[in-house]
Symmetry: C2
Subunit: 162 residues, 2 copies
Amino acid sequence: MDSSKIFGERRTVEQVEEGHELAPKFDSNGLIPAVATDYASGELLMHGYMNAEALAKTIETGEAHYFSRSRQAIWHKGATSGLKQRVVELRIDDDQDCVWLRVDVTGGASCHVGYRSCFYRTVPFGEQAADASGPLRLEYTETEKVFDPDEVYPGVPNPTKL
Amino acid sequence: MDSSKIFGERRTVEQVEEGHELAPKFDSNGLIPAVATDYASGELLMHGYMNAEALAKTIETGEAHYFSRSRQAIWHKGATSGLKQRVVELRIDDDQDCVWLRVDVTGGASCHVGYRSCFYRTVPFGEQAADASGPLRLEYTETEKVFDPDEVYPGVPNPTKL
């Protein structure tokens, strides 16, 4: 699918915010943030980025494609792990600089660490954090991994950067 | 709240991904993306950014603070509009470069255009988009605005950039 055809020009604020034409904004690196939630539970699964090609491929195929910043390449989510994200609904925000994917996940996990969601830890706040004298302590919301990363990604470098 | 105390150092991938210490990663502009969903419905409300101070203030107060890139300033969400976001749960992702806020919204709207969610339009994909010969047509998921932006933000410039 040719992104130059399906993406409109950004001409006015009113057109972008209140119009009917898809006119996404890519940042200075050519990327737009993409947020994936579980269609059934509403749980936030992951936050990634797409370039124009990845967004066009997602629209064409109905399967989530991202742009891997660590590999600098199009990333068909699940191509290695089998844990694909089938798009059920795709939305874009007011100024069209972020997309929201509501997805069904094959295999039930979206996180390279092995959890269902990448967001498997909570941060204390308010009274819970008031007496902190050092780094805040995270609590786990998932106690068991869905898969073993060493089995699913044998020999693949961990994408996390410090 | 002093962010230099409550945020830990990022020493190893294992510590960041599988540990219990809050050690957020801010990008080259000093920002971390922040995603807010409605605590009750799971709906994605907005996608913004925080700097270290905004994240620390969010943790301290339990009310969402962002960093406005257009104004280059801390932005206590709702300070102008009254539409504050009370944090019910705060989570961080595997590599700690994105935070997720599950919030209750005073007034029921999070979008400066006047809608409940910033993501009030769907993008067609798959068969719906297969025959497109021009920019894709967005469909509205919300038909009525919750508030009138001209009344809530009198004289405030629209933050959307082309």
